[in-house]
């Protein structure tokens, strides 16, 4: 310890020494220190320390320690809060920061929270670019794109990205375990291509496509993450110069080996890149999946860069079994000259898809127990050339959708069950679902992998064979011997029946197009006859028979409202009848000639039997049929009706929302059903073990599977997928242009335009139907709900609230949330099966319909909450008139009608009752005049919005779309613009086998 006096001396000498040059100092010190060596030593040490000491403590402490202060949160533990997010556990460290699993209390969901490291956030230009890009990416709505929920800065200044939490492994993890088989690689890469295509369509380039950014989910989805985030790490244009490429990349600390290998030549060379760089990177990823390494492997990043920049093409070392076609596609994807490369990822992906189909076809021979079962009735060609056979319809046929399939959701499904006579009720649900994201067999494999709790050695696909490609299949069946497939198809609003020889792909129309609706088709057990049920003029269903291979129609029986199922020896069949007058459903057994009816079971009072029909067990003892019941919501059970003792028993105790068709495996070990777990999940295929009812899922996607028939290991079903976009158009303009502002796949239902100018819509987010809002120009999308399923949004007149139907706490009730951020949820009704809310323009009331026990009624409840008041019975989908005095409703006494009723808000009998050709499952809307209603009308398979003048009865077409269905629409507050949720559903018969 230096004493004070001593320090004073040292200080004095030190200061004085400053006045001397370093050269003079030794002499000076000799002089002033004399023989006090220790003082001299001290001063010398201090002078030494002083030299070159300008930087020391030159910045204030908080800057000095800013990294420490700001980065403290990178080591969060469970329970800590970052902004409003509550950390649950760390998920890992990404290129740009740490990722945590966190809870978002505002929306009550789990999210992946990426906290951007401060080191990336120091440059405001970068941050700005990153934010722009991430916001753009957050608008992407595609099943293969990881959803970005929110981008922002926490209260304590951390940049964060709240993303969809993806349970799965990265492609890198999987690659570490080995290479992929060609088909498996295609399965993944095609999905990545779809994700990139959706981004490129809106001008977003990923820039960093690599195995680390591709997630494989156990259910088979492939998800691409970190769209646009590469902006944060890439070299800014002004920082790079052509000649310095290598140096730049070399010195750029962020450019790690892992990334360089996937970078395109132009990305290494130039400041700006376009979508073709993603094609390159995806090509490299595909190559690596096949071979285990990239074509530009080298000892160092710099050597890799040299290889990539070198003009000569890479040497591809693909195994012999990789088809030449595959090699050609790959070569074109990684052409060094980007002008010679694939120009769009869509083309790249479509070539891969064609290749995949080809490979699948070739693979079929390897498992088929039927030696002749080799050729496909639908010849896909890589170039997409149209077929010459008459089966193949042109693109326009895709737009021709079944009316009954057009638009429906769970509640309309219920309504239809209740009201729609013979048209297969459950069938209605098939129109509203999703896009092919993966093939079921692959999904199954992945599920097995999940079961084993370790990733698969490789994702191997079971082959799927498309038996039709017109996209308008209605119902289908395979013959027991596996040689024939019959299906009904719709074209230009008419349906016809086609018989396909699976063996040689030959087809013939057995029943010509007619204005009928097919309910189902069944082969006789000896395969000599084809039986089918159909409705004509909305009358009860009629059963017909054709002796194969003829076309001669024989009417067997009226009052058959489902496909039939034969007894083992084929002398009798069973079916479901729906008596519309008594609302009774009966399971009936009849002799094969239609005589000797015998009722096996009944359902009434809102309970139903599936009009997709029963399945007679191969031993003849029981008939299985889905039966519905109301018990705290709508449920369906798979019931086994015992023919010997008349008893009935549920198979298994799984709670289904709906079960469509059911089919027996011939050995009676199991049944296959198409069923929904929840109102808003798609109908998927499931195997139910018999008799214990254990459930095994067969398909894993967002598609809808309707018909089910079995032959040995084969399942024939109809797969429907649906995609949609939201368009905004100004109908009154000379030549109105529609602009797409949002796109998606899967279930969608309901659109509203708030008085504050936001468009509110419901769509599938994850596997839930959620409500989001978006600006009319497509910006500022915010997901408002994430709990349960929420749909049919309406907005309050003051724009403060969104009102919608939701099952967030069980049964469907009407809820209210704040329109801005989805906060403050308030439950307005407390019963069951409440749908279609509409808010009165005076902001006082919410009207809605109730469908409990399949009975319709209309109610109103105060917007601020309170006692619901019943307004009427037998109506649904109420909407308030602009003066809040009247309510227009759909009116459903009899199915197939398009009746509309208008009555006073106070209730009482209808004031007006008339018919307009409104699309099924669609509510009406009032126009501002107060004497016109707008509605969706379908002509030639596509929809437009029309108006109906209550005074004159005149109808007028308001929009000018010439394709697609409209699933929902909403008028802007000034009625000058309209937002439409439009899309197509494509239904084809497919055949698959389980291994």
């Amino acid at each position: 310890m230096i004493t004070h006096a001593r320090w004073q001396k040292i200080k004095e000498i030190f200061h004085s020494a400053q006045d001397h040059t370093p050269a003079e100092r030794p002499a000076f010190l000799n002089e002033v220190c004399g023989d006090d060596a220790s003082v001299r030593e001290e001063v010398e040490a201090l002078l030494l320390a002083d030299a070159d000491n300008d930087d020391f403590l030159s910045s204030p402490a908080y800057e000095f320690a800013a990294g420490m202060l700001a980065n403290e949160e990178t080591e969060f533990s469970a329970g800590q809060k970052v902004g409003r997010f509550e950390i649950l556990c760390p998920l890992g460290t990404g290129g740009m920061g740490q990722i945590y699993l966190a809870n978002d209390p505002q929306l009550g969901r789990k999210i992946a929270l990426k906290l951007i490291s401060q080191e990336f956030a120091t440059d405001p230009r970068r941050v700005q670019r990153f934010e722009q890009e991430a916001r753009a990416a957050s608008a992407l709505n595609h099943p293969n794109v990881c959803v970005i929920h929110e981008i922002g800065i926490t209260d304590n200044g951390r940049h964060f990205i709240a993303m969809e939490y993806i349970q799965g492994i990265t492609l890198r993890d999987q690659l570490n375990r080995g290479t992929f088989k060609p088909l498996d690689a295609l399965h993944v890469v095609i999905q990545v291509g779809a994700a990139l295509a959706s981004a490129h369509a809106v001008g977003i380039v990923h820039r960093d496509v690599k195995p680390e950014n591709i997630m494989l989910r156990p259910d088979g989805y492939v998800k691409v993450v970190d769209f646009g985030l590469a902006k944060l790490t890439e070299i800014l244009p002004e920082q790079r110069q052509l000649s310095q490429t290598q140096t730049k990349v070399r010195t750029e600390p962020r450019t790690l080996m892992g990334t360089v290998k996937y970078m395109s030549p132009e990305q290494l060379r130039e400041a700006t890149v376009d979508e073709r760089t993603d094609i390159w990177s995806l090509g490299i990823v595909l190559y690596e999946m096949l071979t285990g390494s990239t074509p530009f492997e080298a000892r160092s990043p710099n050597d890799s860069i040299a290889l990539i920049l070198a003009p000569q093409p890479p040497e591809l070392q693909l195994a012999d079994e990789i088809p030449t076609q595959f090699q050609q596609i790959l070569k074109k994807a990684i052409e060094k000259d980007c002008d010679q490369r694939y120009q769009t990822v869509t083309k790249f992906a479509s070539d891969l898809s064609s290749l995949k189909r080809e490979l699948e076809r070739n693979a079929e021979g390897t498992f088929s127990p039927l030696p002749e079962f080799r050729s496909s009735p639908v010849q896909y060609t890589p170039s997409g050339e149209e077929q010459k056979t008459r089966r193949v319809h042109h693109a326009s046929a895709i737009f021709t959708r079944l009316k009954s399939q057009a638009v429906s959701t769970a509640d309309s499904l219920l309504t239809e069950i209740r009201t729609h006579k013979a048209v297969a009720v459950f069938f209605a649900a098939t129109g509203v679902l999703a896009l092919v994201v993966m093939l079921p067999a692959a999904a199954r494999r992945i599920k097995e992998w999940r079961k084993r709790n370790s990733p698969p050695q490789s994702i191997s696909m079971g082959p799927i064979k498309a038996l039709t490609n017109a996209g308008t299949s209605v119902c289908s069946a395979i013959s027991l011997d596996g040689k024939w497939m019959a299906h009904a198809e719709e074209e230009n609003g008419k349906q016809h029946m086609v018989l396909t020889n699976i063996t040689n792909a030959g087809t013939s129309i057995v029943v010509p197009p007619a204005d009928v609706k097919y309910l189902g088709v069944t082969f006789s057990r000896d395969n000599n006859y084809l039986y089918f049920t159909r409705t004509e003029n909305n009358e009860p269903g009629i059963l017909y028979r054709i002796a194969l291979p003829g076309t001669n129609l024989v009417q067997i029986k009226k009052g058959v409202d489902s496909p039939i199922s034969f007894s083992p020896n084929g002398d009798r069949f069973s079916f479901v009848r729906h008596n519309e007058n008594t609302t009774e459903y009966s399971l009936i057994v009849s002799h094969v000639d239609g005589t000797n009816e015998q009722v096996v079971a009944n359902r009434r009072n809102g309970d139903m039997l599936s009009t997709y029909g029963p399945a007679w067990s191969p031993d003849g003892n029981i008939i299985v049929c889905p039966a519905t019941h109301w018990a705290n919501g709508f449920h369906t059970k798979l019931m086994a009706f015992d023919l010997a003792n008349g008893g009935e028993k549920a198979i298994g105790d799984s709670p289904w929302f709906t079960i469509l068709q059911v089919a027996w495996q011939e050995d009676m070990s199991s049944l296959v059903i198409s069923a929904r777990e929840r109102e808003t999940s798609p109908h998927q295929l499931w195997r139910i073990r018999f008799p214990d009812g254990e459930v095994q899922r067969i398909t894993y996607d967002l598609d809808e599977y309707s018909s089910v028939s079995l032959s040995g290991p084969y399942i024939v079903t109809i797969q429907t997928n649906l995609s949609w976009r939201i368009w905004v158009t100004k109908p009154e303009e000379e030549s109105p242009k529609a602009v797409a502002i949002e796109s998606g796949v899967g279930l969608n239902y309901g659109l509203s335009w708030t008085s504050t100018g936001k468009i509110v819509f419901s769509s599938m987010a994850q596997d839930r139907l959620s409500i989001s809002r978006i600006d009319p120009d497509g910006s500022n999308k915010v997901q408002l709900t994430s709990v349960g399923d929420s749909y049919t949004p309406a907005s309050s007149a003051d724009g403060r609230y969104i009102i919608f139907a939701s099952n967030r706490n069980g049964p469907f009730n009407i809820w209210r949330i704040n329109a801005e951020d989805g906060s403050d949820p308030k439950q307005l009704t407390f019963s069951d099966a409440n749908f279609y809310p509409s808010c009165s323009p005076d902001n006082q009331w919410v009207a809605y319909d109730n469908q409990v026990n399949s009975r319709l009624s209309v109610w109103k409840v105060p917007l601020q909450g309170g006692e619901p008041i019943q307004i009427s019975e037998k109506y649904r989908m109420p909407v308030f008139s602009p003066d809040s005095q009247f309510i227009a409703c759909r009116y459903n006494l009899v199915s197939g009608t398009h009746d509309v009723a208008i009555f006073s808000v106070q209730g009482g009998p209808p004031l007006r009752h008339f018919t307009i050709p409104v699309q099924e499952w669609q509510r009406l809307q009032w126009l501002s005049s107060g004497h016109e209603l707008s509605y969706i009308k379908n002509i030639d398979g596509y929809s437009n919005i029309w108006s109906y003048d209550l005074n004159t009865g005149l109808e007028k077409q308001l929009t000018n779309f010439n394709s697609d269905q409209i699933y929902a629409y909403a008028w802007s507050p000034d009625y000058k613009q309209v937002a439409c949720q439009r899309g197509t559903g494509i239904s084809d018969v497919i055949m698959m086998s389980e291994r």
Binding site: I2, L57, E63, A65, G67, M68, T122, G157
Partner: protein
């Protein structure tokens, strides 16, 4: 910083400066929030451009307080002195916690390898600096105060001189020696 907290900070700083130790404990977390925010702002926007004036931290605090309240700190110098002292206190406490959480409470000096790399590990280096500054305080309280104002308070030489009530040249001189002392002490610590 919430208004409620700011009100508290002003009063607490006063009480603390009047010797009430309890006030310090209450003050810490409140000032820390602000400090943290400023550090983050600095990191996010200003590091490269150096647009943030060195005095920004305490000045901002000062302005905040005087804007939001009838400022009872009539003596600006007094405020800065207390605030800088406080910054030191808080940063050191923070560094201690941070360091302990990172390294399981090892002695921090072991990580100081080389004075040239000072700042590479802000937590450890801050703690080491705090120790040697304590030493300086013993032998030259004025110099220690200058370091506090300059380094922890972020004040300029001129501002420091104003607050110390002394000349620019003196502060410059004393600051220079203090830095030399601290640096030498740090390298000593390091070699031990």
């Amino acid at each position: 910083m919430a208004t409620r907290s700011s009100e508290g900070i002003t009063q607490l700083l006063q009480r603390w400066s009047e010797g009430e130790e309890k006030a310090r404990d209450e003050l810490m977390p409140l000032v820390y929030d602000e400090l943290h925010r400023l550090a983050v702002t600095y990191l996010r926007r200003e590091r490269r451009e150096h647009t943030l004036q060195p005095t920004a931290l305490v000045n901002e605090l000062f302005l905040k307080f005087s804007e939001q309240h009838s400022m009872s700190w009539h003596n600006r110098a007094q405020f800065f002195g207390v605030a800088a002292q406080f910054m030191r206190r808080i940063l050191v406490d923070y560094a201690r916690a941070h360091y302990a959480s990172k390294r399981g409470g090892d002695r921090y000096c072991v990580s100081l390898r080389n004075i040239a790399a000072f700042g590479a590990q802000p937590d450890a280096d801050l703690l080491a600096l705090h120790d040697v500054l304590n030493g300086l305080e013993q032998i030259d309280p004025d110099q220690a105060r200058i370091v506090e104002l300059r380094f922890f308070g972020g004040l300029t030489i001129k501002e420091t001189a104003e607050i110390m009530g002394t000349s620019h040249a003196t502060v410059e001189r004393e600051w220079r020696l203090a830095k030399a002392y601290l640096k030498r002490e740090l390298s000593r610590t390091n070699t031990h």
